[in-house]
Symmetry: C2
Subunit: 281 residues, 2 copies
Amino acid sequence: MRIVEKIADLKTIIRAQKREGKTIGFVPTMGYLHKGHLSLIETSIRHNDFTVISIFVNPTQFGPNEDFDRYPRDIEGDLKKAESVGVDVVFIPAKEEMYPQGYMTYVNVEKITDSLCGKSRPGHFRGVTTIVNKLFNIVEPDRAYFGQKDAQQALVIKKMVEDLNMNVEVIVCPIVREEDGLAMSSRNAYLSDEERKSAAILYESLLEAKEMVEMGERDGKKIVGHIKNKIESKTNAEIDYIEVVKASTLENADILEGEILIALAVKFGQTRLIDNITLSC
Amino acid sequence: MRIVEKIADLKTIIRAQKREGKTIGFVPTMGYLHKGHLSLIETSIRHNDFTVISIFVNPTQFGPNEDFDRYPRDIEGDLKKAESVGVDVVFIPAKEEMYPQGYMTYVNVEKITDSLCGKSRPGHFRGVTTIVNKLFNIVEPDRAYFGQKDAQQALVIKKMVEDLNMNVEVIVCPIVREEDGLAMSSRNAYLSDEERKSAAILYESLLEAKEMVEMGERDGKKIVGHIKNKIESKTNAEIDYIEVVKASTLENADILEGEILIALAVKFGQTRLIDNITLSC
């Protein structure tokens, strides 16, 4: 496994692979790898001849009062995990390598970034699409892998690739969960023991919402109300949003029909967690 | 010479060329080809195995009160010219092919797009960088060619390619001029006979500015003043801007030093023309 810090070096490695006709899989991460990341990486290794992962805590996707500085980091642990599953290259650029002095170009997907996490985190998706655009140009992957946990992110990246005619297939992989249902996230490390226990309520409430839909409920507001009640009555968590939207456009779905995404963001103490579930109605 | 209207078809052609190890040159245009375009195309043909040009009047780079609807078009003439110099592929997509229903992604270079033409034409460069980004992803050229006449555009595109780590070399070619010095432009077709005669003053005044600098003048304001006086005293043209800036950053250069760009935009009747000259101080 090679560890690469410079863009030019990675481009040289990629070009050599492509000359040999090898397919490239890519998993961009912010590190602190968990089983969710590893499932993406393992899928990439299965699908492609050569798998690159990046570890880069991207400053442009954090707001001024967010957790950029304290985002959990464990490069040594990450490298061991990456090596153990068979990653070919880990790309770990410095901030100045990705955003040198005088940097001034941004990629923005409009409209579908106005709702859900985009509403709570202004500028977040602009940072995500910019760094992913850069990484796609550096790695030139045939396929790139993202987790369904960040459902809006996956949709926004697919939209960027489609709109800008980029030459990469974006593959979205299922959410990996802890035993009690909590979606895997690097940010789970922030939770106190008590918060960690409470946080299981997110998936429980999504499963209850699913059950409501399966029993015939089609009123989005009633579903949101049920999840909200459950979380507020059982925890001290602060709800950022709970939304029922069309899965393909993130438009509000007051009446459930077709492919539906139920997505939520909830703060346990200082820690903001997201989760979601998709349903066919 | 192949004429291609669909993105997918062009990607197939490009992939076949790349598999054979051919280098791809690319000249994006809005059509109504003149000798300036042809000099770019001929340079591309000299440098590369396979040359693609695009003809697309890009709606997103025109403001609401600009000349999108009346921009001059002559596809038949353009195809003849392209064929005569040996272009391999002309890409002529429909508007809906480039911006389908639901399009929502834009690429923006900040700061260096705030001055000069960016100031007079808000949103213009966002449209330019978005379409060029798309075209680069479709054509995947080794080299792309732009005219120095649009000096700010060339700089903005170079900056986009650098910032987004795109895999293309941007080559800027010298301005091609009419006999009386007027810079070649598709928009020259708008000029009345009288306006056409007057317009020669742009290059004359730039040459006088150059002479002033060669004689030792280093005061940017005096140079701007001289050009302004000359144009206002000899024509009815309306000055949009005359600026003396650093060639690499477009920052104001009150005192000339290093590589300098003297750029201007002037309206003759309804027709806005631009021209510029670069100098080493």
